[in-house]
Amino acid sequence: MTHLQLIKLLSEYKDVIDLAYRSDEYSVDIVPQVLVDNMMFIKIGDKYKLNQNYILWVNSILDRVDYSIILGDYEKEHKELIKLKSRYISTNREHYKDEIISVIERIYMEFVYRDKSIASLLKKIENESSLEIDLLIEKANDILEMIGDLVEANLKLESSFIELQELHQDIKLKMMSINTQMYHLFQNISVYIDTLNSFIIQTKDKRRENQRLFKVANDILNEDDIYLDDKLMLYGSEAYYTLKYMRNSKVSTVIDVDSNIGSYLRDALSQLSLERVKKERADRVLPKLKVEPLDLIDIEEIIASLNQNGCDDLFIYLYGLDCIADKQEAFKVYLQLLTDEHIVYSEEFNQYNIKVIRWII
């Protein structure tokens, strides 16, 4: 079969090929035998599955990619280059030089394909809408690991290419024709790693956001949401605007969400609790003791008398004075004189159970 005949064959059976390509598993139940004979389909169990190479080629052209893709590290090609280089050096045969150029070209084309696949893969994962978040993070980590492995492989290939340039002018020319593009492809790997790392961080944030959202929603359903009522009511009383759009010209509310809603709430709540505490304390304050003036008693005269005569029990002395009306009044004067320098405390108590104090002259 010629290449042109193959293209005609594909065109003739385009409908069944398209049906298989658009199916979930790239397979159909029945295909014309000629497509099986030409390896366009391979029978697996009861199904006929499209040739894997064809799927990869079409996906790369159509910018589609499967998560199951394996990104080549070209280790085999690298070994092949080393072998060819060694043979060329020992024999100096042109044949090996041509083979080296051919392998370099193949690696370059694979690099271009690989780069496009990675870009498609990142686009696919970033645009996932219904995949579970945990699964998405797992897949992103797998891709990151796969791309990370390529860094070392790239460095190995890069150094091999530099060495090969010195072997022959033709190899050098070939390398010069692809060098700039190869450099960009190597650089792209770093960009992809950065992109994936950012994506993983953002997706983890989204997972946390969803977990909180689901918890609050479940609490609402289970009527275990008093904490939400409190917060919403607090916001509602703090800020509102007219909601004609939703409520027939009646004044209603929306939350005035500022950029720091958490601290706003905490501040508001702390102010509320502070006011409450102040109020409780105010209720508990005892009335101040009423201080009765001792205007009718001349303290100075009493002190002068004590300084002149002295006494063995101050309270008895005071109680015995004509100017003192009763025991309570005697005790008040007694208290006022406690700090005087003439006072000497004893260990005894008098008949009124009051500490005996002597006034020394």
């Binding site: 996932e128 809408s129 219904s130 995949l131 579970e132 978040i133 998405l136 997706t203 989204k206 956001e209 969803n210 909180r212 959202l213 689901f214 609050v216 929603a217 479940n218 609402i220 359903l221 949401d225 904490y227 939400l228 009522d229 917060k231 919403l232 009511m233 916001y235 509602g236 009383s237 703090e238 800020a239 509102y240 605007y241 007219t242 909601l243 004609k244 759009y245 939703m246 409520r247 009646k250 004044v251 209603s252 509310t253 929306v254 939350i255 005035d256 969400v257 500022d258 950029s259 809603i261 958490g262 709430l265």
Partner: protein, 176 residues
């Protein structure tokens, strides 16, 4: 100046305008320019309103006391919106601002899940037993809360997620 007048007319109805909105893109673009935002802010400030502009959405706010009826309405409406967003996020977990979703795809995915909790949430939002009506009511709540906007041209099955989604997610976030 015309846009300023238009912006005030729309905002004073209690509408949250998002930058990604097709319907209000002229006003959103106008308010996205700092000078315009500040100009309108100073105008509404004189009549006791506060123009809020953050995370890609704008709305008018005003402090004041509320009746119990208003508070209850406010709390109930926000709770329903939060539950509705959680339903949407269960079907489309990585959905974010500017995502475009299809109502038909939502129904297919919902059907595929067969999730009882999801069903309970829809029942909380709708009194209907019919899945199509339930989903329509869900989308209606989200549109009235300015979280979703139906495609204004062409495919009416498509809905865009607006920046106002962040407004509700911030409320949820503040509960923790």
């Amino acid at each position: 100046m015309d846009y300023m007048k238009e912006a005030f007319e729309v905002l004073s109805k209690g509408i949250i305008i998002s930058t990604g909105s097709q319907k209000y893109h002229n006003i959103a673009n106008f308010l996205s320019v700092d000078e315009n935002f500040e100009a309108l802010k100073s105008v509404v400030d004189k009549i006791g309103y506060y123009l809020v502009g953050e995370s890609g959405y704008f709305y008018l706010s005003k402090k004041g006391l509320l009746s119990r009826e208003d508070v209850n309405y406010f709390v109930d409406r926000h709770k329903k919106t939060i539950v509705a967003i959680s339903v949407l996020k269960q079907i489309f977990p990585v959905l974010s601002v500017n995502s475009v979703i299809k109502q038909s795809k939502f129904i297919v995915e919902y059907d595929k899940r067969g999730d009882e909790l999801l069903r309970d949430k829809l029942l909380y939002l709708s009194s209907s037993e019919d899945i199509k009506t339930e989903v329509e009511e869900l989308f209606s709540i989200l549109q009235k809360s300015f979280v979703l906007e139906q495609n204004q041209r062409g495919d009416r099955d498509s809905y865009k997620v607006l920046s106002a989604l962040s407004y509700y997610l911030k409320i949820v976030d503040s509960a923790f």
